[in-house]
Assembly symmetry: C2
Homo-oligomer: 319 residues x 2
């Protein structure tokens, strides 16, 4: 049997008789034999896959991120993809399921804080865009900087009363965006008027509904600009605002976080902070490979970049 193993993997350094080798190769091809990579990793103690947990697979943000991961791991590892069934946000159970795969490493993309709190590391792990005191590798997304960039941009345009459409307010990445933005606005003498999106689900309709619900409040507060926690919500805001007859950015500026590729194409093109999804994926995979090979954990930071487009403009003269 060892001969078969050697031939299949081309690991016979000429050690196998040409005739035997030929017979084996014929059998392999006739039977259409596929070596079971898992059985292989069971014995070699080098699993052939890594698990990736993402809150959603519909949000193109995670598609970009996955593309980055795939690019780095190449054919060295295969990916076990874990996504919560309810789309958006996951509990510890799904992380545990991921850990039960025969994996060399694990990537957790923006885990909720409660999930992270009950997390215990069982293999090299990289946590993306979340915070923990544990000795685990992390890729920090500098969302505070993102909030500052957006805040400064709006303040420079003259906006002082800013509406905010929050999302999953208990998740650090979102509360940081809101707070960093609010700090800049308040420092300029303005105010941030927060209106949380109620659902865990992130789609355009959520943005539309949230805008309908919150606009009366925002209007009463003299809001001239609205920021959404994610581009997808901003799409809904713009859609509904335009349906209600407001022109963007003349009547209302709209901006958000993420910069998925379509944000440059909606009308008007959306001002947003590029959260570098692809870069995040690249770094995560690099750090994970490193953690697997050298058994070290590390933390690195990715800085977002403001993309100014047509959806934000100077505050109109007069309230």
């Amino acid at each position: 049997m060892s001969a078969v193993s050697l031939v299949v993997r081309n690991r016979d350094g000429g050690r196998i008789n040409g005739d035997l080798k030929a017979r084996i190769q014929k059998a392999v091809s006739d039977l259409d034999y596929r070596p079971n990579s898992f059985a292989r990793s069971l014995v070699s103690q080098l699993p052939s896959s890594i698990s990736v947990v993402v809150p959603s697979i519909r949000n193109p943000f995670f598609g970009e991120m996955l593309e980055g991961i795939l690019q780095v791991i190449g054919t060295r590892f295969t990916i076990q993809l874990h996504v919560p069934s309810e789309d958006m946000d996951y509990g510890i159970d799904i992380v545990r399921a991921a850990q039960e795969d025969n994996i060399a490493g694990l990537i957790l993309a923006t885990p909720p804080q409660t999930t992270l709190d009950s997390f215990r590391q069982t293999c090299p792990t990289v946590i993306l865009d979340a915070y923990t005191a544990m000795d685990v590798s992390r890729i920090e997304l500098n969302v505070v900087l993102a909030g500052h960039q957006l805040g400064r941009h709006l303040v420079e345009l003259g906006h002082r009363s800013v509406g905010y459409l929050d999302f999953l307010p208990d998740k650090a990445t979102f509360s940081c965006r809101r707070e960093a933005l609010g700090a800049v606005v308040r420092q300029a003498g303005g105010a941030l008027h927060n209106a949380p999106a109620p659902a865990e689900y992130l789609d355009i309709e959520q943005g539309e509904a949230a805008f309908s619900r919150s606009w009366p409040l925002w209007e009463a507060a003299g809001v001239t600009a609205i920021v959404a926690a994610d581009d997808i919500l901003a799409y809904g805001i713009m859609k509904r605002a335009q349906e209600m007859g407001m022109t963007i950015p003349d009547r209302l500026s709209v901006a958000s976080f993420n910069d998925i590729p379509f944000s440059a194409l909606v009308s008007p093109a959306l001002t947003t902070v590029d959260l570098r999804a692809h870069e995040l994926g690249l770094q995560a995979a690099r750090v994970l490979l490193d953690a697997i090979a050298r058994e070290v954990s590390s933390v690195c930071t990715v800085d977002p970049e403001l993309r100014v487009r047509r959806s934000t403009g100077s505050r109109r003269a007069g309230p």
Copy 2:
């Protein structure tokens, strides 16, 4: 050791002494033990995952499709995701790699014809949107109907000279779209002017570049409407056409295939044929589960739906 196995899986029908059971549970919790699901499936002969091969993970079409698959498989199986590194289209090697996973089943999303030709089934398999004479389960996407729907719509609007931006012309799903559309246009006495996109890569820039390159030809042919093989290409076409000063749909109608969620939001909203990505995923997973459980293969068809929006309008009076 068998006691451990029984306790961990809650399969001891009261057969294990309470004390032993407690000791085992304590050890499990202290060690943070994770049973290796692969080792389990190695012996039980019931693999816990299925492999899914998609040409790209950035195209939201496949995100929607995956969401559908995930929804059906629930926690019964986990997903091994395979994506070619160069984004877009894959060879037999990646399929073979997928088959080497310890899997209960395999889903191949829009495989290229050449890949399909050298495919040999090694486990329950579902092929999405591609054609083969093999006895393999398939989900057929009725792209011929899609082409007819779009063709009829344009003909009714008065268009007779239609430009077409093709993609991967050697792939059946794309050649069928083109031919079905062309048949309707020609039947109405018109002509389809084809211009293949050269790259395998699908992004907005490809659409822009292709439009710049092909517009002189199309203009010379008196084209009043352009259809792209995929929404993403249409975004590029609209972007560049508008930059060149054309208004859509007054000067030029634009339409395409896919209907990813953002197509309703671009400006003008894009007329496109909904290729039912999510439904495709649901059906694929259902058929696969069936193939795994009952060892039967089946074929089912999903019908696309035309979504008429603002990007198409009546042909101008004149030339």
